[in-house]
């Protein structure tokens, strides 16, 4: 299974990068989201995956049993997901505003700040 996930991770990164290199604002955001997903999955996978043993202590036990998934990457990803949600939400709204003000979705038409010397 790791192999498949490795491929998916590569695919997510590749897709994300391809998307941020496009000229459309919306694609840009989608690309960033895909990249974020890729990074999260990467943390998950590199924390080593364990099937079917969530890190929840059984109702009668006081510690996790022998086999359990590493809880730390999960916590990290949770934090990362939430943070990227915040950033993404902001970025999405930014796109909306930018579109309203600049009146285009085409990034190539947004280079005034670099041009005026």
């Amino acid at each position: 299974m790791e192999i498949l996930l490795v491929i998916i991770i590569g695919l997510l990164y590749a897709a994300g990068i391809y998307m941020i290199l496009r000229r459309s604002l919306v694609k840009l955001i989608i690309g960033l989201i895909l990249l974020g997903n890729g990074a999260n999955l990467l943390i998950f996978l590199l924390g080593r995956i364990v099937k079917g043993h969530p890190p929840i202590i059984g109702s009668t036990e006081k510690a996790l049993a022998d086999i359990y998934a590493d809880p730390l990457p999960q916590a990290l990803i949770l934090t990362a997901i939430v943070i990227s949600f915040g950033l993404q939400a902001f970025a999405i709204i930014l796109v909306k505003r930018a579109y309203k003000v600049v009146k285009t979705d085409d990034l190539d038409e947004m280079n005034a700040t670099d041009e005026d010397i």
Binding site: P54, I56, L78, V82, G86, A89, I93
Partner: protein, 136 residues
């Protein structure tokens, strides 16, 4: 959206989901859930309600701007974090009541903290979505 069906359903869904969100918040320490998901569910409840009844009605239910839930929640979190300072312990050290409370289980700074998370998440989601809806 003025559909009787949705509006009626949402009237029932709102309390149900809010209850559910508190449930998720409280059990987070023992089972999947916690302040974040709980907060999201609560805000989803309000969002659904606002979809059905219009923003104004939902605002009337909340009574103040949801944005204020953010500093309030942060006060919870910072309070839970800084309380150990009083007893000379590092920030965010766990302080616990010795015995479990009924229903809620063990009560300690972690729970206050999670409540802070819950409130902030509600505040954030609602601020974002309401603002968008208003300016749509």
């Amino acid at each position: 959206m003025k559909t009787i069906i949705f509006r009626t359903a949402s009237d029932y869904l709102l309390p149900l989901l809010l209850l559910f969100s508190v449930f998720i918040l409280l059990r987070g320490h023992y089972l999947p859930g916690g302040g974040f998901v709980g907060g999201l569910i609560a805000s989803i409840a309000f969002v659904i309600h606002s979809f059905a009844n219009g923003l104004e009605k939902t605002r009337n239910i909340i009574k103040f701007h949801p944005g204020f839930l953010m500093p309030i929640g942060l006060v919870f979190a910072i309070g839970a974090g800084a309380a150990p300072w009083i007893v000379g312990q590092p920030f965010m050290s766990g302080l616990w009541f010795d015995d479990p409370f009924p229903v809620i289980g063990m009560v300690g700074s972690a729970l206050f903290f999670d409540t802070g998370v819950y409130l902030v998440v509600i505040g954030v989601s609602l601020t974002i979505i309401f603002t968008i809806s208003e300016t749509l």
